[in-house]
């Protein structure tokens, strides 16, 4: 058995005591915690700095975009105003009452036995219906029948282009003392006045398949 002699036991004891000093250990722990705190703070600072840079870039972008947006909004409003105006005008144009097909229908149904003296038509937008009064003279063996044929033909022909068409006699009377010569023959006459009513709404066109 080896005998060891420690002649420095007092110095070693002091050294051990110093190394196990709780205050010193606590200070070391505190330093570690402070280092961790500082590291975390730096990390957060970096994050905030990056966010700040991003926000500054967005602010710069927004300065340009804001001007563009204001101009774009004004332009959109202007374009929408024009579109609305054109839509309103198109509606107005499409709701016009067109006399051309009406006059064409008259031209189509007037025969040599019919003479028109006057035509008074009113197609104001205030009224849904168009009213036309047609005065004339019919000639024929039975003049009243000629006048009625004209009225019926007119109603049918107008019905091809217009809706809610009615044509009724206001006046239909024989003119006993008046005759007219048609194709060399003297024929008795009848005076008539026809009230025509039709809708301003045009007939809906059906597109062929």
């Amino acid at each position: 058995m080896v005998i060891r002699l420690n002649f420095l036991h007092e110095i070693v004891a002091i050294k051990t005591k110093r190394e196990r000093d709780p205050l010193k250990l606590a200070m070391l722990g505190l330093m570690v915690v402070i280092l961790l705190f500082a590291g975390y703070y730096m990390f957060r600072l970096q994050t905030v700095s990056a966010l700040k840079s991003k926000v500054n870039a967005l602010k710069t972008e927004w300065v340009t975009k804001e001007k563009e947006q204001t101009a774009n909004k004004a332009q959109i409003e202007e374009l929408n105003t024009v579109s609305n105006k054109v839509a309103a005008l198109e509606k107005w144009v499409e709701s016009r009452f067109l006399w051309a097909p009406f006059l064409a229908a008259i031209d189509q149904v007037v025969t040599p036995e019919i003479q028109l003296n006057s035509l008074n038509g009113v197609a104001t937008r205030a009224n849904e219906m168009v009213t036309v009064t047609i005065d004339g003279i019919a000639a024929g063996a039975v003049a009243r029948q000629e006048a009625d044929k004209f009225r019926g033909d007119l109603e049918v022909t107008l019905g091809e282009d217009f809706t809610k068409v009615t044509a009724i006699f206001n006046v239909l009377e024989d003119q006993r003392d008046k005759t007219v010569t048609v194709n060399g023959k003297p024929l008795p006459t009848a005076r008539f006045s026809i009230a025509v009513k039709l809708s301003r709404e045009p007939k809906t066109l059906v597109t062929a398949p």
Binding site: V48, V55, A100, L116, N117
Partner: protein, 188 residues
């Protein structure tokens, strides 16, 4: 176990107090402002991103509206060109007379018969004018052609009234009065 001396205890207590102060100062004076900054910056980031997104949407909407309104813009320019500048009484009678003359219909006079602002709210710059067109002598066929052509080529005109009266001497010839409504763009 070794007992702490009085000096050790004092040092430990002081160390603990210092530690608490350091932790408090760290959170209160360093992390807390950073946290507040982060919240404010995130809010600002969200707001700006949202605004920029809206601006991009507006730009897209403009492109879409431009495409949709392209026809409307062209039509509106054409409509405005239908109205000459200056007082309507200076050009409407002349234009109407010239137009009907092309169809052998001679107009005696075109008189203004009143005007009102267009009733549509979308059209504050349009005026509805009325005109009395007096034709002393017209053939029915020529008149029909002229009216048809006028209705086709003047979309902002409408005949409100048509009065045709045959001449007792010549049934083929008629005296005609037309009441025409003409929608006019106000160039002012």
């Amino acid at each position: 176990m070794k007992k702490f001396t009085r000096d050790d205890t004092t040092k430990i207590v002081l160390g603990a107090v210092m530690f608490i102060f350091v932790v408090y100062a760290y959170f209160e004076f360093l992390l807390n402002p950073l946290g507040k900054d982060t919240v404010a910056l995130n809010k600002e980031d969200a707001e700006l991103t949202n605004k920029i997104g809206e601006a991009k949407k507006t730009a897209q909407e403009l492109r879409r509206t431009e495409t949709n309104a392209k026809n409307a813009t062209e039509i509106f320019v054409q409509i405005k060109e239908l109205t000459q500048k200056g007082s309507p009484v200076a050009w409407v009678p002349l234009r109407t007379r010239d137009f009907f003359a092309r169809y052998d219909v001679k107009i005696n006079d075109v008189r203004p018969a009143g005007s009102v602002a267009a009733k549509e709210l979308e059209l504050p710059d349009f005026i509805d004018t009325r005109w009395e067109v007096d034709i002393p002598n017209a053939q029915f066929f020529s008149l029909g052609n002229a009216i048809s052509a006028h209705e086709n080529s003047h979309p902002l005109a409408e005949f409100e009234e048509v009065r045709i009266l045959s001449s007792p001497d010549d049934p083929g010839s008629q005296r005609v009065t037309l009441i025409m409504q003409l929608r006019i763009y106000d160039h002012k």
